[in-house]
């Protein structure tokens, strides 16, 4: 995985390459393009104001993702999403079916099916999968971005993928 703990450049040099990725991530968090634009805009303004406190040699990507996530969690959409976090944490049961999620994927990989499964995940599962599989962050970076220990990253990721497989398998059963 690529490490992005890097050189100290201007704010734009460091932050703007992530623009499209931030927007995509913000859309997945908010599930609303207008709210995502507000979130990205506010994140960049906050990061610019706090840039002087960013420590050279530390991980800029994890730092700015943490700002984006904190900004989201204090927004109206984020607070609503937070209320549903605990309800689904360990309530992940494997489906009663002979089809494995992998066989479903081998049979028909449908982008839309995966997007729906991802959308239906609780926020804390969705974000950890996005940071790992889409952003290709290391466990350490994910821990920094979400302010959680690496052990929690690994266990949360494992439960998130289990939940993802459950949803994909359920779609196959229901199809």
């Amino acid at each position: 995985m690529a490490e992005h703990s890097g050189d100290f450049g201007s704010f734009e040099d460091l932050a703007m390459p992530y623009f499209a990725r931030f927007y995509n991530f913000a859309c997945w968090l908010t599930r609303d393009t207008t709210a995502a634009e507000d979130l990205v805009q506010e994140t960049y303004m906050k990061a610019l104001r706090g840039f002087s406190s960013f420590q050279q040699g530390t991980n800029f990507r994890a730092w700015i993702y943490r700002i984006l996530r904190n900004t989201f969690l204090t927004s109206q959409t984020g607070l609503k999403a937070m209320t549903s976090i605990d309800a689904d944490v360990d309530a992940v049961a494997e489906p009663a079916t002979q089809s494995t999620p992998e066989s479903i994927l081998l049979a028909r990989v449908e982008i839309e099916t995966i997007q729906q499964a991802l959308e239906s995940l609780p926020l804390h599962y969705r974000e950890v999968i996005l940071l790992c599989d889409l952003e290709e962050m290391s466990y350490q970076e994910i821990g920094q971005a979400l302010s959680i220990p690496i052990g929690t990253v690994m266990s949360r990721l494992s439960r998130a993928r289990k939940a993802m497989r459950t949803r994909l398998a359920a779609k196959e059963v229901g199809a």
Partner: protein, 253 residues
Amino acid sequence: MSCEQWRANLDAYVDDPQAPDSQAEFAALEEHLRTCSACSAEVLGRVQLKRATRAAAARYTPSAEFRLRVEKNIQAKRRPSWFAGRMPTLAGALAALLLIVASAQLWVRHAERQQAVAELLDMHVATIASANPVDVVSTDRHTVKPWFQGKLPFTFNLPELANSPYALLGGKLVYVHDQPAAQLLFELRKHDLSVFIAQQANGTLGSNPSETHANGFSVESWSQAGLRYVIVSDTNQADVHALGELLRAAAKQ
């Protein structure tokens, strides 16, 4: 070692097979995969799911207009800080002159406070421009204050406003220099007043009582019982001060 035990490591292997700390573990796992078709199929499935997720998750693309808007906003924000950006060089050149260094230090502290005030002004303006300015909407202090329970590492008192011209509109959680803070919104004759309350340890908001004007806004700040209070409003300084008095009296209760 059973397949069940090997499978506990599969996510880490699929996510980062080159992880330097896990090479010995992964070498043993690969040895097992060579002889176990069930675990090999499991690895293949996880790799496929990961790739499919990556493809499916790259779904939204920002418009060129939006990118341009953000870039312009960044440039507009950076322009006033031209001097602040060069402070390290400037301070280095003046290091030999103690008097000037002392002045520069005072100036930096002042600039930091000004930056913090500018941040609060931004938040106040963004709040009153928003369709949903507050997250807890209530005129009742006994509804607004408990809403912050569990969200802030401190608590505060709100004044009884029944016999005053001020009305409480609600509040929300905000972050000031990465520290959680309360933003309370009050109304006075169609003017909005934001009250920010943060822990005093968040020293960028200053520590001394202060009444200033910034960009036409009245700003009053003070510290009380370990908390820093900052009021921002477009109403006059006397109205801001009167609300400050009510909050100070409530904090003593």
